[in-house]
């Protein structure tokens, strides 16, 4: 093998391990010391070492164990260097001990403490606004900049808040454990939010051509399954998994043969993944039986109604609007309010829907929110107010980052001039 090929193979192995095991390694390296930042630093140095070592000496048979051993050495070095102030001899002993136990069984399997790590990140002692981003970073290894864009925050502010949260976990001694039943529901909400945010980030790339994003959606589904499997008595965990599966099932239908964006109303149901939808329906049925309604179950129920509508051609619009009402009651989310208006349009016509659209004067964030302008444009078109619709499409196009969706909006906008004349 040429050195070049060796380098490429080392990189692809390292990438594969990073995606599969990053969170697992961070969770394992930090479970005893609670020092997530140090675990991340050590792990990133271990990955860097891998990229110089593996092309020369070949990829190890157990890359996870290799990375764990190297990261462990880096952690101990780091502990010695920083052994002033906060890091005491006791910490160093705990670190070494915990890691010795780790390396001993690294050849078999590294225990999966990701869930415990996620609950530490979603601890009530952590600033509520940073819990989801924190989970995305420590479990999935996302950098602050890409998390910041998903959470409408500047990268600098995001980075600062992440550092602060990790400091709090370490200094205040936030435990890595799955909470007791009575606190579980509250804490779980933040864990589920973080999983869904990860999924939403991954779903932006509809063709799945971008490997990192596709893996993000897959990782979110994996985490969703993990949580739903470990907490079978909670309704929202399977509710979220069902919601993600409905969305994932439609991924192949979101683009036509030319790579153009296809909205739900025009998708070919034959191209949906029937098995995923069946699984989602079953999960939703099981979640509903627990009698504890929540945001994710309602959103999954809406997905189920849309799927049924497209498959059967019949829709129960009053029921769908009712689901949106319940969801809005629970979340007060402007996004829900926007989607609700599209169902209202089916039930009461476009003018009633336009009146129900949230007011951008009272929430100026809407002015920068593409779905608000796209929904507005759609409703104005249906109300035959073509000039205003044209302007609304213009803003929506200007705000959209996905070229395929931009193209779709441009085609919609172009059909207006035909209707006008």
């Amino acid at each position: 093998m040429s050195p070049h090929e060796g380098g490429a193979q080392a990189r692809s192995t390292a990438d594969a391990v990073a995606r599969r095991s990053y969170g697992k390694l961070v969770a394992f390296l930090s479970a005893r010391t609670r020092d997530v930042a140090a675990a991340e630093d050590a792990l990133s140095e271990a990955f860097a070492s891998a990229l110089t070592d593996w092309p020369r000496n070949g990829c190890p048979s157990n890359p996870e164990a290799w990375l764990l051993l190297v990261a462990r050495r880096k952690l101990i070095d780091l502990g010695r260097r920083q052994r002033s102030g906060e890091i005491a001899a006791e910490d160093l002993r705990v670190l070494t001990e915990g890691l010795d136990a780790a390396s001993a069984d690294a050849d078999t399997a590294i225990p999966d403490q990701r869930l415990a790590l996620m609950f530490a990140c979603a601890h009530p002692a952590i600033d509520p606004g940073i819990r989801s981003p924190l989970i995305l970073q420590v479990v999935l290894g996302l950098d602050a900049a890409s998390i910041a864009s998903a959470f409408l925050m500047s990268p600098a502010a995001m980075s600062k808040r992440l550092v602060r949260a990790k400091d709090k976990i370490r200094q205040a001694g936030v435990p890595f454990r799955i909470p007791e039943r009575e606190e579980l529901a509250d804490r779980l909400e933040y864990v589920l939010d973080a999983i869904y945010a990860a999924f939403a980030e991954g779903w932006v790339d509809p063709t799945g051509a971008d490997v990192a994003r596709r893996d993000l959606a897959e990782e979110a589904l994996f985490l969703g399954r993990l949580v739903a499997g470990l907490l079978p008595a909670t309704a929202e965990a399977p509710g979220l998994l069902a919601l993600m599966l409905y969305a994932e099932a439609r991924r192949p239908a979101r683009r036509n043969a030319d790579g153009e964006y296809v909205p739900l109303a025009e998708q070919d149901p034959e191209r949906w993944d029937g098995r995923m939808i069946d699984e989602a329906e079953e999960l939703l049925r099981r979640a509903s039986a627990l009698g504890d309604v929540g945001r994710y179950q309602l959103e999954a129920a809406l997905q189920s109604a849309h799927v049924d509508h497209r498959r059967s051609g019949r829709a129960d619009w009053p029921a769908i609007v009712g689901l949106y009402d319940a969801l809005f009651e629970l979340t007060r989310s402007p996004v829900v309010a926007i989607n609700r208006t599209l169902a209202v349009a089916e039930l009461h016509g476009p003018n009633a829907a336009l009146a129900a659209l949230p007011d951008s004067a009272s929430d100026t964030r809407l002015l920068e929110y593409q779905p608000y302008w796209a929904a507005r444009a759609e409703l104005l078109t249906r109300a035959a107010r073509y000039a205003e619709a044209h302007d609304a499409y213009e803003v929506a196009i200007g705000l959209e980052r996905d070229p395929a969706v931009r193209g779709f909006l441009q085609r919609r906008q172009a059909t207006l001039s035909v209707q006008k004349s």
Binding site: S84, E90, A172, G173, R177
Partner: protein, 117 residues
């Protein structure tokens, strides 16, 4: 880890209690302290005199600035503390939640800065 539980409450609350209520309150603190001691978690504890007895000291250019009154005027005042040993924040929160002070005030839980040997 060690945590300091700082007990904040309206310090005039105590005076407005009936003698029977005061007795009951004192008994609750006594039992709580006893429980901490029995579990081996208690490292130290004291009740403080009211803020009317407080004096603040600050040294400016080598000269002591001594002032009457507490550091900060607030609706609830620091009235006492428990220094405890706890495995993690959840264990410390559990002790804070059991403290009678959590019922009539606020407990701030602060990890102690561990100094290297």
């Amino acid at each position: 880890m060690q945590y300091l539980l700082l007990l904040y409450a309206n310090e005039h609350g105590w005076d407005s209690l009936t003698p029977a209520q005061q007795q009951q309150g004192a008994a609750a603190y006594k039992a709580y302290t006893e429980a901490l001691q029995k579990s081996g978690a208690l490292k130290g504890s004291n009740r403080l005199q009211p803020t009317s007895t407080a004096t603040t000291v600050r040294n400016e250019n080598g000269k002591a600035q001594v002032l009457d009154g507490p550091y900060a005027d607030s609706k609830e005042q620091l009235g006492g503390y428990y220094l405890i040993e706890a495995a993690d924040l959840d264990a410390a929160i559990a002790w804070a939640n059991r403290c009678p002070g959590a019922g009539h005030g606020t407990i701030e839980v602060r990890p102690v800065w561990e100094m290297s040997a």
